[in-house]
Amino acid sequence: MVESFAAALFLIGLLGIVLRRTILVMLMSLELMLNAVNLTFVAFGQQQGLLTGQVYVFFTMTIAAAEAAIGLALVIALFRTFRSVDTHAVHGMRE
């Protein structure tokens, strides 16, 4: 039950990444996906009566935070050169 809710969250995040044009919003959707996973961990842990599920959440949360930090730094660097955070604008490299 909780797992399907988490799956729905994951899907929403995924749709956000696919459909949105602003990179910042994509980062937010990414966070949503990662948190959905956290929820799944907890849910499965609860289901099996193990505490390790919640322990794993510690790790993933840390890493998600680091990722977000790096993502934001990259967005800032991107903005400095491209003057835009629109995904359609980021295509200097051609085949």
């Binding site: 959905a36 799944t40 499965f44 289901q47 680091a66 790096i70 660097a77 050169t81 295509h91 490299m93």
Partner: protein
């Protein structure tokens, strides 16, 4: 009462390379206050050299917490350490040319190395994930190192976004496995059956295929390899790929997958080999060319995974990484302050003007293409020997002729075309010279004594 286990000396010693790398990172962070470049380079070099030497001198299997240091992981650790060593040497002068000499470069590269060592030694999916993320996050930043250039930033953001999505899938898969088996240790992977378990492993595969640069997730490879700085591309092509492939191999050897899963791998392999080699034929920009060829090599490694022999894959990894390092080191030398000489037009006749560098490049490229008696041939042979499916072997060999055509096209451009305009002399700084000789020596050693590596694998 929770039992506290003391660490034995053996286990502590096994953790040495990792510890040394992290300590080196801290030292360089402190050294960054003094704005000098030599000490940080030295520290970085000694740390990576230590990793190589320590990994090769270990013996037996040591388990520490969720880590397991055995022969294969030590060899891949040594390989990644060697790649880092060479990259440090080669990129030193390059960074000066690009005016991007910062100690953060060494810090990030060492952090990536630490992540790779975690990956190699992991016996638990969570530790594997931490290692993957440590490696990847450092690489994302490194790709964007030359911040002022558009290509770098674009490549970095593409890599980051695609990579994070892949990581999210990977994590989701981990949660499924946790749900199916109640543990994330590799030993528990064997029990991952049923919808949940297989779905979990499928999602793990998504993440791994992305990291390796295999179809259907290979779209980031050309852009990222082209946008990043040349020595870093060399590091990515060798170390990152090696660590990712090895991690994939580890996971797959721990679980028993049904037959239809291997069909998936087969499809990915065939697509990779064909796509990589065919598009490489059409490329005029050298970095992009080698990006596509690395996709093809990922395909060969996937074939090796199909064959099922871990040692064969490790052999191929070593052979391929060494050749890649050589190729990209020479490309680093070729790219002057303005990245000239990196297109086929500008590098025409390079081999004539610079016989030694051209000769080395030919050697490495021919090894990549699998030409006997070089090491690449032996690596490919090892991979193919273990494949059961004859038609697959036939296809792989045919497609690798396509790859050979692409490589030969490069060599023809180097030797048989007249240079356009006046080609300025490429100078080889001392560090790069030393690095190139190391790589060359390793390659020649593997070419003349191919069974030395296999004996190393079985002996350590």
């Amino acid at each position: 009462m929770v039992e506290i286990q003391a660490l034995s000396i053996e286990q502590l010693l096994a953790l040495r390379p990792l510890a040394v790398t992290i300590i080196a990172v801290l030292i360089i962070m402190m050294l960054a206050l003094w704005q000098s470049k030599w000490p940080s380079l030295l520290v970085a070099l000694s740390a990576s050299a230590f990793v190589v030497i320590d990994s090769l001198s270990g013996a037996g299997t040591v388990s520490v917490f969720g880590l397991q240091f055995d022969v294969l992981s030590r060899i891949v650790s040594a390989l990644t350490g060697f790649a880092a060593f060479v990259t440090f040497l080669v990129s030193f002068r390059y960074l000066d040319q690009k005016k991007e000499q910062h100690p953060e470069y060494q810090i990030l590269l060492l952090l990536s190395l630490a992540g790779m060592q975690l990956m190699n030694a992991a016996a638990d999916l969570m530790l594997l994930f931490i290692g993957i993320e440590l490696m990847s996050l450092s690489i994302y930043v490194l790709v964007a190192f030359a911040r002022s250039r558009r290509a770098c930033c674009e490549a970095a953001i593409k890599y980051f976004l695609l990579g994070s999505v892949a990581s999210a899938f990977f994590l989701y898969g981990m949660s499924f496995i946790f749900g199916a088996t109640g543990s994330l240790a590799f030993t528990a992977l064997a029990k991952a059956n049923g919808y949940l378990g297989y779905l979990g492993i499928g999602l793990l595969t998504v993440g791994f295929l992305f990291k390796m640069g295999a179809p259907p997730f290979q779209m980031w490879v050309p852009d990222v390899y082209e946008g990043a700085m040349v020595p870093l591309t060399g590091f990515m092509a060798s170390a990152v790929k090696a660590a990712s492939v090895f991690a994939f191999v580890r996971v797959l050897t721990s679980c028993t997958m049904p037959d239809y899963f291997w069909d998936l791998i087969r499809f990915a392999a065939i697509a990779a080999i064909f796509l990589g080699n065919a598009v490489a034929l059409t490329q005029t920009r050298l970095k992009r060319f080698f990006a596509y060829s690395s996709i093809a090599h990922t395909g060969y490694m996937l074939l090796g995974i199909l064959g099922g022999s871990s040692s064969a894959i490790i052999v191929y990894l070593v052979v391929y990484s060494v050749a890649s390092l050589g190729v990209f080191s020479i490309l680093t030398l070729m790219s002057g302050p303005d990245d000239s000489l990196l297109t086929s037009l500008e590098s025409a006749g390079f081999g004539r003007r610079h016989p030694v560098l051209g000769g080395l490049m030919s050697l490495f490229v021919l090894s990549l293409s699998g030409m006997p008696p070089l090491a690449g041939f032996f690596g490919k042979y090892q991979l193919f020997v273990f494949l059961q499916d004859r038609t697959l072997v036939l296809f792989a060999m045919l497609a690798s002729t396509l790859g050979l055509a692409a490589y030969v096209r490069l060599l023809i451009n180097f030797y048989m075309k007249e240079p356009i305009g006046v080609m300025s002399r490429v100078r080889t700084p001392v560090g790069a010279f030393f690095a190139l000789s190391l790589v060359l020596g390793l390659m020649l050693h593997m070419s003349f004594f191919p069974d030395a590596l296999i004996r190393l694998i079985s002996g350590l």
